[in-house]
């Protein structure tokens, strides 16, 4: 296919291209455009003007890649949670039906909300107690604690994301329980 004028930079360098490593934002994540999907790309400025018709073909592919990325994220975090206690106990505490998280680990696409919750719990499994307290009607939002943990100021600047790490259950410490 011939090159045409790029609407961004004006150079006659826009042509259909395929290939790996082309990323695009879809919902909450950057996902990879399938390498065999041809999209216009400017050889001069790198612009990728995507038109409506191409988006109709591209959107389902991006959605598939997005769901796969969510599944991969939650599967890794569930490995961490499974080391703390059986998955069926997590399912019970999170109000999920028995086997739901196992399905998510295998074939069922998780929601972004579940992925976020599982990530938070995987980073701090001891916070599951707050969830249990919530269902038992024993807790409220601990706003003052939140302010203290944030160093006295609530900021809209996102904190750097801590890397996920595998935690052995023996590494976990519950000061109140240990004291008791």
């Amino acid at each position: 296919m011939k090159r045409i004028e790029c609407p961004v930079c004006g150079e006659t360098a826009l042509e259909m291209r395929q290939g790996p490593g082309r990323m695009m934002k879809h919902r909450l994540l950057e996902v990879e455009i399938p390498s065999d999907f041809a999209l216009p790309e400017c050889g001069s400025c790198g612009a990728r003007p995507i038109d409506w018709k191409a988006s109709k073909q591209l959107d389902p592919l991006l959605e598939k890649a997005y769901q796969k990325a969510l599944s991969d994220l939650v599967a890794a975090d569930l490995e961490v949670l499974a080391k703390v206690k059986p998955i069926y106990e997590w399912e019970r505490e999170l109000g999920l039906s028995v086997g739901y998280l196992s399905k998510v680990r295998n074939e069922k696409a998780p929601s972004a909300q579940l992925v976020a919750l599982v990530r938070l719990l995987a980073n701090q499994p001891n916070r599951a107690r707050e969830v249990a307290d919530l269902w038992a009607g024993r807790s409220t939002v601990r706003f003052t604690d939140s302010v203290r943990l944030l160093g006295g100021a609530i900021s809209s600047v996102p904190a750097p994301m801590a890397p996920l790490r595998l935690i052995e259950s023996g590494d976990l410490h519950f000061p109140e329980r240990d004291a008791a």
Partner: protein, 133 residues
């Protein structure tokens, strides 16, 4: 001085689904309001179809790089029906567009499509963000 690109051709392109969105100030901005790429285009076309001569502000020459060429700037308050159709509260939108000959024919390329951020002087009067008078 009028717009560089004919609104008639802009409307024809929008009706023919020949609409492209630039990444940073159009696609990514509109994606903040929609779940997926696919939902952005009907909205963009809807906005283009509501453009009138009174919404025109000026024609500007963008420096190259990153952008080159002449673009028409518009600002409009979208109709209540378009806003409710797409579940949007923001009614005042800013557009910067050009027409170019893509593989599909005369195509509208939107380098900007986002909520209006500052008061905009237009042929039909000043448009303020958030409907402020």
């Amino acid at each position: 001085m009028g717009a560089k690109y004919s609104l008639k051709l802009v409307h024809e392109a929008a009706r023919g689904e020949r609409v492209e969105l630039d990444e940073s100030r159009a696609r990514d901005e509109v994606l903040r309001f929609f779940a997926s790429l696919l939902e952005c285009y009907p909205f963009a076309a809807g906005v283009l179809l509501e453009l009138r001569d009174d919404d025109f502000s000026e024609t500007i020459q963008l420096p190259n790089p990153p952008h080159g060429g002449a673009y028409d700037v518009y600002g409009l308050r979208i109709s209540e029906s378009l806003a409710s159709k797409h579940s949007l509260e923001v009614r005042e939108w800013y557009l910067k567009l050009r027409l170019y000959e893509s593989w599909s024919g005369e195509t509208v390329f939107l380098v900007s499509l986002h909520p209006l951020e500052y008061p905009l002087r237009r042929v039909g009067g000043v448009l303020n963000p958030g409907g402020l008078t």
